[in-house]
Symmetry: C2
Subunit: 256 residues, 2 copies
DNA sequence: CGTGCCTAGTTGTCTAGACAACTGGGGTCT
DNA sequence: AGACCCCAGTTGTCTAGACAACTAGGCACG
C-alpha cells in the first residue's frame, strides 16, 4: 500500500491502478484470504483520491470474485483460487493453448449451404439465408479430441469463404477481420456414445462415451453469430465450469 | 419512463427503482433489442436524480447482461434471452423445481466418516476432521436421474446429522439453519459409462452413457463447504451452460 | 451477570458538479 | 470527391462532500 505511487497523468484510470496494486498484493500473499482489505476511507486518505474512486477499485475486485464486501464490516479477501482453469467463451484453439497444448485442425468441409431448421432457428435467419458451414476434426498434440461443425450466417460475413484460413481460429478471424467479438454463448451438453463415423474420425471404439455440445455464440449486441454442434471424446476431454450466483444488479431486498 | 414516480422515502434505493422500471420496459417489449436506452443525462434530468445515480441504474442492467454500453454512443438493449434456463449454483431440488419437475430423493447413506484424500483436499480439512457423507438417489417425477454423494465438514455443522431431514434440500438447510450461503461452485464434468451399481440404481442398462460430476461448492468467503461426486443419466439429463466473457473489473487497456 | 446504550468504523446510497475521451454528423476547405 | 475541422451528444473517470444503515466493541446501569 505504502509503496504505490499513482500516475495521475497516465491514461490508465486511477481506480484501475489501485485495483492492480491490491490484486498484486493478494496474489503475492501480502493479503491472505479472510483478512480485510484497506477500507475505502483509508485508501482515500493514503492515496489522496476521493472515496468514490477508492470504492470503485474495491468494487472491481469484488466483481472479479477475489474479494467480497460486508456492510458495516469491511471488504475481505476471498479464498477463491484465481488461477483455476475456468471455461469461458473460447474457441477450441484458445482453450487448448490455455492448457498448454498445441491445437490444430483437419478440414472436412467448408462451404456455403442452406441451413437446417435448428441452425436457422438458433441464428434467427430468414428462410433464404445461407450459412457458411465449417466441419473440422479438432486435434491437440496429435490426438484427435472432437469433431466440430460450425455455422455462421453468410449475410454477416459475405467474403469469409475466401478470407478464412481453415487452420486458423474462427473467433480470431471474426474479431480481427470483421471486428465482431464473441462475448457469450449458450451451450447444451449431452452425454452419448460415439457412432461409427465419429469413432473413425476420433480413433476410438464405436460406443465410447462422448460429449455432445450444441452451442450458440453471441456478440455483445445479443446478435447470434455462430451455431456449433460438436462431438468430443469423453476419455480425454473434461468440462470445467464455475457456477456462480447470478449477480442481480446489486441490491438485496431486506425481509430480514 | 414518463410514468415513473420515484419514492424517495422508501428503503429501496433510487437506482434500483430506476433499474426495475427500465427492466420492466425491456421485458414487456417497450425497449426492443438494439435500441438505445435513455442516456444518463436524460434519466438524470427527467427523474431529478444525479447523473451518478442514473449511471448506477444503467450499469446494473449491464451487469445483468440485458444491456451494454458503448462509450460515446450510448447504452443499448441486448438481445440476450432473459428467460433461458441457465444453470447456476443450484441444489438438485432447486434445479428440478426450476424446470417444473417434482424432485425427491431416496436415502442410501447419511453418516459421519473420515474422508478420502480427494475430499479432504477439496475441503481443506485437517487430517483428523470428519465429514458428513450423504448419499442419495435423485428422482424427478418418479424417474431416477442420478446418484449423488455429498460431503460437508462435520466441524462446520456439528449438529447437522440430527437437524437434517434427508428429504429436504441440503443447500436450503445450510442457508436457513446455519446462515451459510453457497455462492459459487467449481465443477468438473466427465462423460462415462454406467457401472453395474449405477445401472441398477438408475434403472438403465450397464454401459449406458452418463455424466460424472465432481463439484466443490463455496461460501462467499471462499470457504469450501461441500464436495459432491455424482453420476447422472445421459439420456434424461442435459447440461445447459451460459459461458461469458470474464468481466475483468471494467477497464480495457487500449492498444488500438 | 446481562441488558441496553453509545460510539467509532465501515459500506451503501446520493448529490452536483468537472473534465476527458470517443462517436457521428454536418459543414468547410482543398 | 475527399480530407479536415468542429460540435453536440454520450459514456468514462474523478472530486468532495453528505447522510443512512449496519457491526462490533466498550461502558454504564440495573
Amino acid at each position: 500500500m505504502d509503496s504505490l505511487n499513482l500516475d495521475r497523468q497516465s491514461v490508465v484510470p486511477l481506480y484501475y491502478q489501485i485495483q492492480q496494486h491490491l490484486l498484486g498484493h493478494i496474489r503475492s500473499g501480502g493479503f491472505k484470504p479472510g483478512t480485510p482489505l484497506p477500507s475505502e476511507e483509508v485508501i482515500s486518505k493514503r492515496l489522496r483520491v476521493s472515496r468514490m474512486t477508492a470504492r470503485q477499485a474495491l468494487k472491481s475486485l469484488c466483481s472479479l470474485g477475489v474479494a467480497y464486501s460486508q456492510r458495516g464490516k469491511g471488504t475481505f479477501v476471498s479464498a477463491v483460487k484465481l488461477e483455476k482453469n475456468i471455461r469461458q467463451v473460447l474457441s477450441f484453439s484458445e482453450e487448448m493453448e490455455a492448457c498448454g497444448s498445441r491445437p490444430h485442425s483437419e478440414l472436412i468441409a467448408l462451404e456455403a449451404v442452406l441451413p437446417g431448421e435448428d441452425v436457422a432457428d438458433a441464428l434467427c435467419l430468414q428462410p433464404a439465408d445461407k450459412v457458411i458451414r465449417l466441419r473440422r476434426v479438432r486435434i491437440a498434440d496429435s490426438l484427435p479430441m472432437g469433431v466440430e461443425c460450425s455455422c455462421v450466417p453468410l449475410r454477416l460475413f459475405p467474403d469469409l469463404l475466401e478470407k478464412f484460413d481453415p487452420r486458423a481460429s474462427l473467433y480470431r478471424t471474426l474479431s480481427e477481420v470483421y471486428s465482431v467479438h464473441i462475448v457469450h454463448a449458450d451451450e447444451v451438453v449431452e452425454a452419448g456414445l460415439a457412432n461409427s463415423e465419429e469413432a473413425r474420425l476420433l480413433r476410438v471404439a464405436k460406443g465410447s462415451p462422448v460429449f455432445l455440445f450444441t452451442r450458440t455464440a453471441y456478440a455483445e449486441s445479443g446478435q447470434a453469430i455462430e451455431y456449433v454442434k460438436s462431438t468430443f471424446r469423453g476419455d480425454r476431454y473434461k468440462i470445467k465450469n464455475r457456477l456462480g450466483r447470478q449477480s442481480n444488479g446489486g441490491w438485496v431486498g431486506g425481509s430480514a
